[in-house]
Amino acid sequence: MTREHLRFMLPILSLSILLVGVFYLQPRAMSYFGLNLLFNLAIPVALATIAQMMIIMVNDIDLSIGTFVSFCACVTATLVQDTPLLGYTVLALAIVGYAAIGAVIHIRGLPAIVVTLGMSFVWAGLAVLLLPSPGGSPPPWLRTLMTMKPPLVPFAIIAACVIAAVTHLFIKRSSFGVLLRGVGGNERALERSGWSIVWLKAAAYGLAGLFGVLAGMALVGLTTSADANIALRYTLLSIAGVILGGGEFTGGRVSPIGAVIGALTLTLAASFLSFLRLSSDWQIGAQGAILILVLAVRLLVSRREGAA
């Protein structure tokens, strides 16, 4: 088994173990209805995780993805609903804005972590301006999409698979994906071959923006309304998801399928805990413990594999 296979298998393994745990605690979850409930809120998390992955892929880190998703959710719940043309334009501009940030970060050699930290204030401000108190509603098509009940397999599962497959094909199989990962692996090598790192970085950030927009829209479709703080925790969640999915902070080593699985794992971990019925004092701590546990299991498995 090569390192790459292991990187791929471990996230699946941890998700499976958790899923078995959940089914054991709550057999009712083992149904069409149950799986949908367990996983539907993981869809926006998965999209946000993919967005974060695009940034981590080029060796940066995005501390603004949570507020950006909140902002997109606010736009979706207000402008897109009321004046669709304006709404979609704003979302498109937001993507362009993200790409521009990527370009500026590269051209001026700025630390991405701080620029995105600053941008998180900007997105939050815009969201508060747009929606000072919670409200809004999703465009009907979106609500219909997110509450779809396809036969046999719940929508949440299908959506997760589609997201994973599409991003996998794009990042791991397409020739453009190779260039994007190359930026993370060895920027100088691309530069020497005459590629424009600025454009590639802008593309990576633009893609992150695109998935951020999708996350915001999916979120509104599920929650039926938005507020300026709705997705703040996606920032840390998405970083954790990428890492759980076998990604690394540097070197362009990321896995889109892993990232989606990482997002599902994190969502499932929270459910697992509430099924455990811990005292509410310890529920927060247990969240941390489970994160540690999953990563520790991974370490054990990879050690054994390494020894074998």
Partner: protein
């Protein structure tokens, strides 16, 4: 008969004394109800982050766990509507309180937050008919309660002689309020009164005490440290103010309402509870019953609940 029914409390935040008192009241009252055999279970759940998305997931888990009723203090009035709707569709009774939800299928035990804002200004207007400058301490930006209280305050101020000369966000935390006030004070003219949202009065007083300004009238929010400071000032120089907040024990009221609904009682979907006001005279009494470092509280029993339900119905 609800002895076989199971009720869950969905809470989105446990990081301050108000929420802790709320959880404690729930444990006490609902726990007693379980041991008395009134209901089969009354479990409390808190999300690890104060986020609507987490709470929505939590509610969905409760649906899976097969609770008969879910009592919610919601992170957002609208953002958990999707999950609440799913719960209703699964035949679960949903009762929201304090942080209420707008989904029509749920019950709401609401506090008139706008009125809370208005009352503060009314009190100050009675004390200073000639008006003056006000400093406003707000809560967390983008949150419904903050917007409501502030709207009430501004509405009433426009009908008085007062003028709001400064406004800062204290995030309902003493230390954040203290910092924000300390930062804006130097650029403000003399302040007559401070309108607050609860949990931020003591921090404000600390920040003002650190300067050489005269102490304005700060409306308090029923925290024990606020009351203790007020009592101290009152003893020293006859300081006068008022204190108002929603009582954390309203969670127990929500519990009884849920139990009554499960019992088959017709309950209107919108109920209102008064907030708990402490006046100059009641200060010492209130202070005595408030545990050190906690919040003034009242817990409700079944009769209180019926009293709230009936006049409304």
């Amino acid at each position: 008969d609800t002895s076989g029914k199971r009720i869950a409390l969905s809470n989105n935040y446990a990081g301050n004394s108000w929420r802790q008192a709320m959880l404690e009241s729930w444990d006490k009252v609902a726990g007693a109800a379980v041991s008395d055999g009134v209901v089969a279970a009354a479990d409390a759940f808190t999300t690890s982050e104060n986020q609507a998305t987490e709470q929505a997931a939590q509610i969905q888990n409760m649906i899976l766990q097969g609770y008969d009723a879910i009592v919610i203090n919601a992170a957002s009035p609208t953002a958990v509507n999707g999950a609440v709707k799913e719960a209703c569709d699964a035949g679960i009774t949903v009762v929201s309180f304090d942080g209420i939800v707008t989904e029509p299928c749920a019950w709401r035990i609401a506090v008139d937050f706008k009125l809370m804002g208005r009352e503060q200004v009314k009190f100050l207007a009675a004390k200073y008919p000639e008006g003056g400058n006000l400093l406003e301490i707000r809560g967390l930006a983008g949150v419904f309660v903050d917007d409501e209280i502030s709207a009430g305050i501004h509405d009433e101020v426009s009908r008085s002689n007062f003028k709001i000369v400064g406004s800062v966000h204290g995030d309902w935390a003493q230390d954040v309020a203290q910092k924000a006030v300390a930062g804006i004070l130097p650029s403000l003219p003399e302040i007559t009164g401070v309108v607050t949202q609860g949990g931020d009065g003591y921090g404000t007083a600390q920040a003002i005490a650190a300067t050489d300004r005269p102490m304005p009238t700060i409306v308090m929010g029923n925290r024990q440290d606020e009351l203790a400071w007020w009592a101290e000032q009152k003893a020293a120089n006859g300081y006068e103010t008022t204190s108002l907040s929603i009582a954390p024990g309203v969670s127990t009221l929500a519990f009884w309402v849920a139990q009554q609904i499960l019992d088959g009682k017709e309950v209107p979907h919108d109920l209102t509870v008064p907030f708990l006001t402490i006046e100059q005279d009641g200060l010492e009494a209130a202070l005595e019953t408030t545990p050190m470092g906690s919040v003034s509280n009242v817990e409700y029993n079944l009769d209180d609940a019926l009293a709230v339900i009936d006049p409304a119905g």
